[in-house]
């Protein structure tokens, strides 16, 4: 019977190379099956890793908070934080009101229209960033056990943050709007032209597939179109800064600055159902806890 002696350098080398070759073959020939096999283990391992992750994250947040309060005046810092939250909320509300005004203009000829439904959301905290430098994503402290699933939209009151691409039992990974692998259906608020918002490696985003006849200009705001994906219509994505019109091209492309500074985001809302519940006026979400809205 052939056996490998792992104590001998040659045996260990042969075994390691064989294992690596086998792994490569399995991953390339059966990508779905190998992913599915490991998915079974993701849940328990995710719960196990959650403990040190949350401990370090809360320690990190505690130290950051203490540092900020000692460096700057405590009352000023508190007031600043409150005003920033207020400003974010008002910015989001402003965007929704603009969208509502545009919709009202278009719908004045209609006698009956459905009351706009509010999305069902759950609040979450950002506890980490992508483990590699190649992707722009954040890690949330809620996961499958809190009802979070892949492709759900993630926002702050100011606008779109990204969408969930991966979940474990206790955490979720959100691909940010500035990542080149992300694509969100967008709409230019003034001209009503639709396109796809993609991230660019430099940390901004671009709106692609704008019709050549569109009268888009710098300063136009881009919102979610609500046609596909986990976002309702009218959430702010960003503001157009430059427009690229190439001769002979079929479409225009515009670069935009995201509405949310995704590098500093700390609390977010996960949209569990874009058209979940109907209400007369939006309730202000209490950010920071795991409260379902």
């Amino acid at each position: 019977m052939w056996m490998v002696n792992v104590r001998s350098p040659h045996g260990a080398r042969r075994l390691a190379l064989g294992m690596f070759a086998l792994l490569l073959a399995v991953l390339l020939l059966f990508p779905g099956q190998s992913q599915g096999l490991l998915d079974y283990l993701d849940g328990p391992v995710g719960q196990l890793v959650r403990l040190p992750l949350e401990a370090v994250s809360s320690l990190d947040q505690g130290i950051s908070a203490m540092w900020q309060q000692y460096v700057s005046l405590q009352h000023v810092a508190d007031e600043n934080r409150r005003l920033r939250q207020e400003m974010d909320w008002l910015r989001g509300e402003n965007s929704q009101l603009r969208e509502a005004a545009a919709a009202t203009q278009r719908l004045t000829s209609l006698l009956h229209f459905k009351e706009q439904a509010l999305p069902a959301m759950v609040a979450a905290q950002v506890i980490g960033r992508d483990s590699s430098n190649r992707y722009k994503s954040v890690i949330l402290n809620i996961g499958e056990s809190d009802g979070v699933q892949k492709d759900m939209g993630v926002i702050t009151p100011a606008g779109v943050v990204g969408r969930v691409v991966k979940t474990t039992g206790a955490t979720a990974v959100v691909l940010l709007v500035t990542d080149p692998n992300n694509a969100i259906a967008g709409l230019i608020q003034r001209t009503r032209d639709e396109g796809i918002v993609e991230g660019v490696p430099q940390g901004r985003a671009r709106l692609k597939y704008i019709p050549m006849l569109s009268a888009v200009k710098e300063g136009d705001r881009v919102v979610t179109s609500g046609l596909v994906g986990g976002f309702p219509r009218g959430l702010a994505i960003g503001t157009i800064t430059t427009i690229d019109r190439e001769e002979g091209a079929l479409f225009q492309t515009a670069e935009l600055v995201p509405e949310v500074d995704v590098n500093r985001v700390e609390e977010v809302l996960v949209i569990q159902s874009p058209h979940g519940q109907s209400a007369e006026s939006p309730a202000r979400p209490e950010v920071g806890g795991k409260a379902k809205l």
Binding site: A16, S131, S132
Partner: protein, 168 residues
């Protein structure tokens, strides 16, 4: 058993360090890939087989907290452990300088595989990633790896796996 527990502890601790603490020390938004550095160190100090196994475990766990593909993390981190072990057998003594050169090459290779397997709109985006992410990260990994090896050599006595077999 003790070694297994040490590796488990290291892998579990690696996740919060890599995802929560390292972003604070990022330079121009680039942080070192501690998973790759650790896998390579294990490969160098304990041999290619342990390097591969620990690298695969690190790649899988870190992949749970990254938007990247599973195969990419497994292949790059596991491969780093394996090839670090194989390369370490070719030199008589591992110094921080030699390790940093090896890590630079391994990190560059892993980064290039990852970037060219990603979907980018234009070639200029791909080159931007190579220029401003892959190369700086490889340099960062090399420096961190060399520093870690220097600390290990100063504080611990770790016999390299296979050295006695090789010269006996």
């Amino acid at each position: 058993m003790k070694k297994f527990l040490v590796y488990c502890g290291l892998v579990l601790l690696l996740v919060p360090v890599q995802t929560t603490l390292l972003p604070h020390v990022a330079i121009w938004d680039i942080k070192p890939d501690l998973g790759l550095v650790l896998a390579a160190l294990v490969g160098v100090l304990a041999g290619e087989l342990e390097g591969l196994v620990v690298g695969l475990a690190i790649g899988w766990i870190l992949n749970l907290y990254s938007a990247g593909d599973l195969w990419l993390n497994l292949v790059t981190t596991g491969g780093a452990g394996l090839f670090a072990g194989l390369l370490a057998r070719q030199v008589a003594e591992i110094t921080p300088t030699i390790l940093s050169v090896g890590l630079l090459l391994l990190s560059l290779a892993g980064g290039l595989v990852a970037v060219f397997s990603m979907r980018h709109s234009t070639m200029s985006d791909t080159w931007w990633m190579v220029q401003f992410v892959v190369v700086p990260q490889a340099c960062f990994d090399a420096v961190v790896g060399a520093a870690l090896l220097w600390v290990v050599q100063q504080r611990l006595v770790v016999p390299r796996f296979g050295m006695l077999d090789r010269y006996s």
